[in-house]
């Protein structure tokens, strides 16, 4: 494949990853969020495979498959089941001040480009221009965790951050060494089981998954 085409394709997919990140930032329905998350995983997985093909890095195929199975199928499936079991699929979360959140998201993207510009200049890889997008995805995941109050939403924000990190590794260095990627995937899997257990604990204890109710531990005066 022509190197220019690849760079274009890479940027194109990066744009979609960022778009899904923004989509998640303001999506109110639970299923909608899970679907957006799965789409983001799919874009990442395709991107990884293309980069792996162009750079001739075969271990990226494994990462790509790992992403596909974990982030496109397994995690969304687990979330789906959890949402159904917990009967929160009809809940519509109130997202306060959508335009403001969007503006903050855009500011974070600009900030990421600024922060990454010295690093991008040093890089010679095809994928260098998407490093800033990756950081922006991490930051938007963080923003999502701050602005949203639902436990499931916060977890999806957390997973979106993880997606951003994976994307960063692909963009900056054609992926981390395989042993590290596998370890990170294992950690995410364990984390998935833990938050699954957690949802039930929170649900039975507080009768809702709104984390605002958890405000008993405060500094006393």
């Amino acid at each position: 494949m022509d190197i220019n085409v690849v760079a274009q394709l890479n940027s194109f997919l990066a744009a979609f990853v960022l778009l899904t990140a923004f989509g998640m930032l303001v999506q109110r329905r639970m299923y909608g969020l899970v679907h957006l998350f799965a789409w983001q995983g799919l874009f990442l997985s395709i991107n990884t495979a293309i980069v792996g093909f162009v750079a001739g890095k075969h271990h990226l195929y494994i990462s790509s498959l790992l992403t596909l199975s974990l982030k496109v199928f397994l995690l969304p499936y687990i979330l789906h089941v959890l949402i159904q079991r917990l009967k929160v699929h009809k809940e519509v979360e109130v997202v306060e001040n959508v335009p403001m959140t969007m503006l903050m998201g855009i500011a974070l993207v600009i900030f990421s480009y600024y922060l990454m510009s010295p690093v991008t200049q040093l890089s010679t890889l095809v994928t260098r221009s998407t490093l800033a997008v990756a950081l922006a995805t991490v930051m938007i995941g963080l923003l999502m965790m701050i602005t949203r109050k639902h436990a499931v939403t916060q977890i999806i924000g957390f997973l979106a951050m993880e997606n951003g990190l994976f994307f960063a590794a692909t963009s900056a260095t054609y992926g981390m060494p395989l042993v590290v990627e596998l370890g990170v995937a294992l950690d995410i899997l364990i984390a998935a089981f833990i938050f699954g257990i957690f949802f039930f604990h929170i649900h039975t204890t507080f009768d809702s998954l709104d984390v605002d109710q958890m405000a008993r531990l405060k500094e006393e005066d």
Binding site: T173, V179, V184, F195
Partner: protein, 481 residues
């Protein structure tokens, strides 16, 4: 030896998951931890005689710095296992936890020890990150073990905040790998700390200084540095006390270890005090904020968690300051703080079981009620507040001396923090230990060995530092230059 050290806790975790709530489960827990400690001591002896070494195809690496922390980790986990036998039995009798949770508790305790040891011994900074995340994940559900609303809230906070924090560290690691790849080529070799150390001079300084900011935020969250400390007092006060002891005494040390390892690489590349300055800033802020927060606490475990933040701040500040004296002080401080703080948590655990509350206003008359708990707490607080002749005094004195020499303007702030913390601790502890025992106080069997052992060690280190420990720290200081 090294592999034995890692395999024992993993094996113990699996065994305990199967043993479940049988009568001898706590004994297996103790035996597993004791075996880990023996392996750790053996490894230390080997390193002491032969110097640093690589093992498992460069995958693991031991030198004076990490082996002393590995011995400390295995030692404190052993004494905590001894303490937890009595403590958890009492919790069982009162019906606070059932069979399944006991099984879970034991297995996760050993898994947690494994994660920390892996963190300390691995040579690969990617694996370091993974092990750190594993250490968080294995303790999250231990914090929520009692399933009370506050415990669940604390655990959720711990899970989310540490998860977010640590992902920043992963980004930092990606940047580090980015810089390393240019010099060392691709593949796992480029993430090995020993390789990175050799070429740190030719790593790109701009990338590394940026990477350090992310690593600082990430691992700093786990160290509990202000302003990233919100999870710490909650997690440490709501979980079962043996877990508070290992979280405060060990996990914070391990996170600081990760940070210092990264700092060495960044320093080698930038040849400036960039990383050190950041660490000093975070450290000093932690000392001051924690010292003033200590004044307002009502919950006994919460108060001592703030004291942990303060002491981690001191160690971070000292590592940031750099120089042989400050680094020596910081290494010593990590050791004595860990011993003193876990011993305090042992006595605090028993004290709160005697009164069935963690509120300090309701804990009274410990000297009369149970002399070991009362005096143990009193001596523990004296040690942690930095009174001579305990070891914390020595380390704080060294750090203070180095500060006066290298950063004289910061001395008043450091002194202010130490002074306020001192006053805050004694104001609270004095009424708890003295006076008549209240009517609701119940007598109970307590675990003597861990408390006495820890206090004696802190005292010995304060009065007379054994030559081997001295040599050891000097070697570590050389490594961290």
């Amino acid at each position: 030896m090294l592999l034995v050290l890692l395999v024992v806790p993993l094996f113990a975790a699996v065994a305990l998951a199967f043993v479940g709530d049988r009568k001898f489960a706590p004994e297996i827990n103790i035996a597993g931890s004791a075996a880990t400690f023996v392996a750790g001591a053996g490894l230390a002896l080997q390193v002491y005689e032969q110097g640093p070494m690589l093992a498992g195809g460069k995958f693991f690496f031991v030198d004076a710095f990490n082996v002393y922390l590995a011995v400390l980790t295995s030692f404190v986990s052993m004494t905590t296992a001894i303490f937890s036998r009595r403590y958890m039995r009492r919790e069982r009798e009162h019906g606070r936890i059932g069979q399944i949770r006991i099984r879970f508790y034991h297995a996760m305790f050993q898994l947690f020890i494994f994660a920390m040891l892996l963190c300390l011994l691995t040579n690969n900074i990617g694996i370091l990150w993974i092990a750190m995340e594993l250490a968080t994940l294995s303790t999250v559900l231990l914090v929520s073990l009692y399933r009370t609303p506050t415990a669940i809230e604390a655990a959720w906070k711990y899970f989310i905040l540490c998860g977010v924090g640590i992902s920043q560290a992963l980004f930092g690691t990606v940047l580090l790998y980015f810089a390393a790849e240019k010099v060392l080529g691709e593949g796992g070799e480029a993430l090995l700390w020993t390789n990175l150390r050799q070429v740190s001079g030719s790593l790109e300084p701009t990338v590394l200084s940026l990477a350090f900011v992310f690593l600082m935020v990430g691992y700093g969250t786990k160290v509990g540095l202000v302003p990233l400390h919100n999870w710490l007092p909650d997690a440490h006060s709501e979980g079962p006390t043996p877990i508070s002891a290992v979280l405060s005494g060990l996990l914070l040390n391990v996170a600081l270890y990760a940070l210092v390892r990264c700092k060495v690489l960044v320093d080698g590349s930038t040849h400036s005090h960039h990383a050190g300055n950041i660490m000093m800033g975070f450290g000093l802020l932690s000392i001051l904020v924690a010292a003033f927060s200590l004044l307002r606490q009502k919950d006994i475990k919460r108060m001592f968690s703030y004291s942990s933040i303060e002491h981690m701040g001191i160690a971070t500040f000292a590592f940031g300051l750099g120089g042989p004296i400050a680094t020596f002080g910081a290494l010593l401080h990590m050791l004595v703080h860990s011993l003193a703080k876990s011993s305090i948590f042992f006595t605090v655990g028993h004290a709160s079981q005697m009164h069935w509350t963690q509120e300090m206003d309701r804990i009274r008359g410990l000297f009369k009620g149970n002399p070991l708990v009362g005096w143990g707490l009193m001596f523990g607080v004296m040690a942690i507040a930095g009174m001579p002749p305990f070891g914390v005094f020595t380390s704080e004195f060294l750090i203070l001396t180095a500060t006066i020499k290298d950063a004289p303007l910061l001395t008043p702030f450091l002194l202010l923090g130490l002074g306020v913390a001192f006053a805050a601790l004694f104001r609270r502890v004095q009424p708890m230990v003295s006076g008549e025992a209240p009517s609701y106080q119940k007598s109970m069997k307590v675990a003597h060995v861990p408390v006495i052992l820890h206090m004696v060690l802190v005292l010995v280190i304060g009065i007379y530092m054994p030559a081997f420990l001295n040599n050891w720290f000097h070697t570590a200081v050389e490594l961290l230059k």
